[in-house]
Symmetry: C2
Subunit: 192 residues, 2 copies
């Protein structure tokens, strides 16, 4: 099942066929091979990536070389380092593909034109921004208030398919713990 970006736009941003025609040139479709890096730390993030099929990852790498995963982006998600994209600053993050992934690639031009010709798109764009904030806020709340085990249980509840698609060490990274700790947590949970 492919989640076509154009259909997604029609459904979520109420973009008309006609408006789509005007925007068509601004939407690039790309197939990203597994492990390909789309954004390197230090570069300015110039694109939104809408995932039609596959799985992207948004993460940082610290001084010791440890990866810290901020977000997984499966089908129908949009990934972008908004800070870098909006403020034109070098990003401190990476984006790569955990599977072969089909994306729609959007640039500033697209956002500007779409906002111009469609007030609905503008609203849609604000909605996903607000939604993003809600998401980050809740994530912080869990990180400062919940144990690793609780965070893990929440994760598998919320992202049911992700655990089947990524190595467990990446889930550990998302949760902010080591792979060994996650392995122990899982064992203890299975004993009950």
């Amino acid at each position: 099942m492919r989640y076509e970006f154009k259909r997604y736009l029609q459904e979520n941003a109420e973009i008309t066929e006609e408006q789509l025609k005007q925007l068509e040139g601004e939407i690039q479709k790309r197939v990203i091979e597994e492990n390909k890096i789309l954004l390197h730390s230090g570069e300015v993030c110039e694109h939104f990536y809408y995932v039609e099929e596959g799985l992207l990852r948004f993460y940082s790498i610290d001084e010791k070389g440890k990866e810290n995963i901020l977000e997984f982006a499966p089908e129908k998600w949009i990934v972008v380092d908004r800070a870098s994209f909006y403020f034109n600053e070098p990003s401190e993050f990476y984006i790569d593909a955990l599977e072969e992934t089909t994306v729609a690639v959007l640039d500033k031009e697209f956002i500007d034109i779409a906002s111009e010709i469609s007030p609905q798109f503008r609203k849609y764009n604000e909605r996903i921004l607000q939604n993003h904030i809600r998401h980050l806020q809740n994530r912080i709340n869990r990180l400062i208030g919940k144990s690793a085990e609780e965070r893990y249980l929440h994760f598998i509840e919320r992202y049911q398919d992700i655990p089947n698609r990524v190595p467990q060490r990446m889930i550990a990274s998302y949760l902010g713990i080591t792979p060994e700790s996650l392995s122990r947590i899982r064992r203890e949970l299975s004993h009950n």
Copy 2:
């Protein structure tokens, strides 16, 4: 020193004197006494609070009664539970005053009218949204990637005045650790 909201708007959102006149009726000024709660969990957050003087706090309370502080808002900051405000959902958070605080209170009406009459305000509003995301994103990155000590050092570096204005247990809460742990971290740092 009082950071007047109107002057702030002129400087940051390029609002003109004339536009201010139109908006004046939508801006409420309030003095909040210390410990007063402005938003309770379960209520819909109907207001933005711009802090002219004083200090607000944005936090949750979990099942065990533990407070988890997501944000301190000193002078010139804006506090709002955007998720609740935008989506009209009951908030899961609280906002209260850690000092007697003078705020400008804004509601949806204000945001709508200001966006209508001033494209600059619209841009300004988007800019603070994007900035908020950058802020949350970096906070998550530190929570999953850094030790409590590193997070503490970052905190006092970034928010130099806050430590003098709030009890240490609240800084501990912001960092996601207990007051006792923070006390020990501070002792060890002072021994070097």
